[in-house]
Symmetry: C2
Subunit: 418 residues, 2 copies
Amino acid sequence: MKEISKKNFDGYKYVDGGVCAAKGFKANGLYCGIKENPTKKPDLCLVESDVMCSAAGVFTQNKVKGAPVTVSQKNLAKTGGKAKGFILNSKNANTCNADGEEKAYKMCEMTAEKMGVKPEEILIAQTGVIGQILPLEPIETKIDELYEGLSYEGNEKAAIAIMTTDTVKKEVAVEFELDGKICHVGGMGKGSGMIHPNMATTLNVITTDCAVSSEMLKKALTDIVKITYNCLSVDGDQSTNDTCAVMANGLAGNHEITAEGESYEVFKKALYIVMMNITKMLAKDGEGATKLLECTVTGAKDLDTAIIVAKSVICSPLFKCAMFGADANWGRILCAVGYAEADFDINKVDVSLSSKAGEIHVCHNGAGIEFSEEVAKTVLLEDEITISVSIGDGNGTATAWGCDLTYDYVKINGDYRS
Amino acid sequence: MKEISKKNFDGYKYVDGGVCAAKGFKANGLYCGIKENPTKKPDLCLVESDVMCSAAGVFTQNKVKGAPVTVSQKNLAKTGGKAKGFILNSKNANTCNADGEEKAYKMCEMTAEKMGVKPEEILIAQTGVIGQILPLEPIETKIDELYEGLSYEGNEKAAIAIMTTDTVKKEVAVEFELDGKICHVGGMGKGSGMIHPNMATTLNVITTDCAVSSEMLKKALTDIVKITYNCLSVDGDQSTNDTCAVMANGLAGNHEITAEGESYEVFKKALYIVMMNITKMLAKDGEGATKLLECTVTGAKDLDTAIIVAKSVICSPLFKCAMFGADANWGRILCAVGYAEADFDINKVDVSLSSKAGEIHVCHNGAGIEFSEEVAKTVLLEDEITISVSIGDGNGTATAWGCDLTYDYVKINGDYRS
């Protein structure tokens, strides 16, 4: 049920392999015991490229930044956008700790030593409880085993090791052609609470064998984050550790993309497909969620207006509860559209709700219209619901993703630390 | 348990009487059957002053405005801030209906006819489900009985008639002296979901026997709303019908307040006490709530900064869940402080949690400090929790109020319409 439905795009083919789908990327994940855990759920993972990569990252905008965020940002600045490996752990966010930065850097050092590169050529991301001292010993003990276990099929192990309250691992990869060469973009992500627009990602690793300069990588990443991860909200809380980094090793053999143009657009679209699908996976596996909600706004005067309105609907706790109850309480949608801080005419708003079971049109020109409650119930009992909101006759369109608000969200978060 | 603890203020005495505490105000409430309801919970109420009042109101900032909001705004504009009566109903918001404005005005007409005044001298507020046609007939049928039942002790009936998912009625009144005359300010309010900063009030009626010009009434109301109702959040949803109006009939016999000065400050403080206590009542009776959360921010560079940070903490779903679980997960507080869009140094943030059971200091200079989990549990098991956040050495201070997020919030809102 937590599987998302995937839309097809001409010229792009979904493939297996996650972060190892692209040529020359190895991964591994294992349990090292950062936090005592009888189930031995893996908590540490590593991704390595056979050759040095162009790299770019986007990070949390929270004033409280986890130590791994600061270290990754400094590393990327030092190298001018290069990376050979990426180490990640769950079970401890290493945030609000006096010795956090020192320890995050130490983890880069350990990894770099194994790979024979400089510490600043390693990226790091961490997730878990905030404000608990990170024990380095379990990581030091297991780093050899972690490195030696790296494999071209290790993507699944890595994807599992970054999971926290996620109930399913999140991986996507696509294959496409560029300059007659087969290229790949693949990625993994983890959710699933403390997720909100403005780097809503928590941790995401994207790999590609395309040759792309780190400048163009940063540009593509920034553009695509805006319309994917930043249009995702599970609970409105913006994490301290949100990180999404892309590594491009160029092993596909295409001409390096160093400027905008046709090749850049082909690559960017692949990045969009991967990140959009991970976004949907994050939403559908939101803490306690039973439904994926997808709100598409059309007719806005521009992209930003469309994004603001779509996010407002997706973030409304009352609407999220109504969806949990499969209740077509469209007044709550209109209410959320109305308090969105954007410029449009509320009297031109149309709303419909759809799923694979059908569609109901509930509001025209800002006022309710009659619909069958019976059909509405059938539509809303599905586990992927689309909310279509037209707000005028402009060209701006955007989609935001979220999930319903359920008893289980409260349960999970009422007792997270124990 | 839903009763709030009331703080005392020198020179002001809490008294009974709600909207009838002030001289010359009558009220009544009854069941007219706006929506079929076997329990016959009252759904219609009226407040009348013996003499014409100065009046002022603040209203929702949602682009979707309920018809009663539009009508009250127009009426106040027409009269230049006068009102004789105030009619309110629950069970139907009369919002997003093509004939909504016409019907809301018709309700003012019916009331005005009874009181022998003009329709624009009546205020109106409505609450309930959005987008359902309002039946006027039950109101027409009962308006005589409603009017004839008005009494100087009718405050409680009125307060009950505006309740929706509220579990307790909300009334406060204070007595104080001005120019040697005994004065009163009293009020009633209703919550308890779809409540968020920016007129977080849903419906509130404040009455006073002080003589105050409508201009100064508007000024005092606007200032006090900013630091009371607008610092309240139950769920982040901003209603379409939020209304808070004050009526001042001057029967206390003080010199009319027409400018700032000592008398104005005395009156404004009374207004603050009433509105702040109603705010606390609304928070504590938030949908599904088991705890009142009060976040006080000090050391901000100005009032606005303090308000933004305090609201950010109160609005965090993750923190709200942690409080439901009595879990001192202070990282979530720091996270919410960090994503507040305000200017301060995160490395100077101190946080403590307190209740009548004691206090724990959990964070100093942005980093965690050791505390007893056992004491923390004792502190957090109480039903009123104060979160104290110091963010620097400025003079800006503010308080925001909210409640925990519980299973019952989801239950109530997963099936509201039925």
